[in-house]
């Protein structure tokens, strides 16, 4: 058993790895055989590149200002996303979990890389890495520390391993000093990492305009 602390970059020959030419040839083959249609692949690419954490941030910001929406979000995040006109993605169940001063959640997929991509965009490389998949479950406080998150001793840390079809989204704690902010301003504070549980939003003051 070898120990690897990070995923390797693709084995390259020139600018692109061998896999690049290989998958292009595979697509051509499959299109030629009628197994898949090029338009469908293109549409899928368009969908993938359209995904970003902005949608997840909208859910969080709305939950911060509207307690009844938050309850609906906690009850059924898929339905709550649809309510805001967002695409919750193909997963049959999306669950939002709420961070509080007493409880902090963190999400991982130890077996592969399951992630609420429709609402957060593509997962970061580290989320898919062998080292995160290993340590997020066995040493979560160590991982949080590396990410600059220090939890108080009295905070219960809950790690969620996405082992099945359910996707998890973390509702981070609304930072102090944001009472005057509107929903759009609040959404801008919510980062991708915060919705995985690896960061805590902070109130940022806008740079002065000269």
């Amino acid at each position: 058993m070898s120990e690897h602390d990070h995923d390797h970059p693709p084995i390259t020959d020139g600018d692109e790895p061998a896999a690049a030419a290989r998958v292009r040839a595979l697509e051509e083959l499959l299109v030629a055989k009628g197994t898949v249609r090029r338009e469908d692949v293109r549409q899928m690419i368009d969908w993938l590149v359209s995904r970003s954490p902005a949608d997840g941030a909208r859910l969080v910001a709305r939950a911060w200002i509207d307690p009844e929406f938050k309850e609906r979000l906690l009850g059924d995040a898929r339905a709550a996303a649809l309510e805001l006109g967002l695409d919750p993605g193909p997963s049959p169940v999306v669950m939002a979990v709420e961070n509080t001063p007493a409880v902090h959640h963190m999400v991982v997929c130890t077996l592969c890389s399951c992630y609420p991509r429709a609402l957060l965009g593509p997962p970061p490389d580290w989320y898919k890495s062998l080292s995160y998949r290993s340590r997020a479950v066995s040493d979560p406080r160590g991982v949080l520390s590396e990410f600059g998150v220090e939890l108080n001793d009295n905070v219960e840390l809950r790690v969620l391993d996405s082992t099945a079809d359910i996707r998890y989204l973390v509702i981070p704690i609304r930072p102090a000093g944001t009472q005057e902010m509107n929903e759009e301003q609040l959404a801008a504070l919510v980062t991708r990492d915060a919705m995985i549980g690896l960061a805590q939003p902070v109130a940022t003051t806008p740079a002065p305009v000269h």
């Binding site: 058993m1 070898s2 120990e3 690897h4 602390d5 990070h6 995923d7 390797h8 970059p9 693709p10 084995i11 692109e16 790895p17 896999a19 690049a20 030419a21 290989r22 998958v23 292009r24 040839a25 595979l26 697509e27 051509e28 083959l29 499959l30 197994t35 898949v36 249609r37 469908d40 692949v41 293109r42 549409q43 899928m44 690419i45 969908w47 993938l48 590149v49 130890t110 077996l111 592969c112 890389s113 593509p122 970061p124 490389d125 580290w126 898919k128 890495s129 062998l130 080292s131 995160y132 998949r133 290993s134 340590r135 479950v137 066995s138 040493d139 991982v143 590396e146 990410f147 391993d161």
Partner: protein, 102 residues
């Protein structure tokens, strides 16, 4: 280092608690075109009912362990695509290599 249950045999993809010495590499990269294409191809095949996500995962898990650990994320997906599609008779063995002139 943290102990973990050595009595339970693990497949290479089953990483929870696997011994790791180094800090997590937090560098990120934009997905290359070929990586997006691989992702989209899997998605399109799934939508067509040709290959589902469980088959994708199973194909990835069938990689020889050293290859799994050496491969990049989407190289694993590509391996799975080739394996499962060949198994389903949608690809002839060696057909892709011949197309590439290999």
């Amino acid at each position: 280092m943290l102990g973990y249950d050595r009595q339970m045999e693990r497949a290479v993809h089953d990483r929870g608690g696997w011994p790791v010495d180094a800090a997590i590499d937090r560098s990120e990269h934009e997905l290359a075109d070929w990586e997006l294409l691989t992702d989209a191809l899997v998605g399109a095949l799934n939508r067509e009912g040709v290959m589902n996500v469980d088959e994708l995962r199973r194909g990835i898990e069938s990689m020889p362990p050293d290859e799994y650990e050496r491969a990049s994320y989407y190289e694993r997906w590509l391996y799975s695509l080739e394996t499962v599609l060949t198994e389903k008779g949608m690809l002839e063995p060696g057909e892709l290599d011949r197309r590439l002139g290999g």
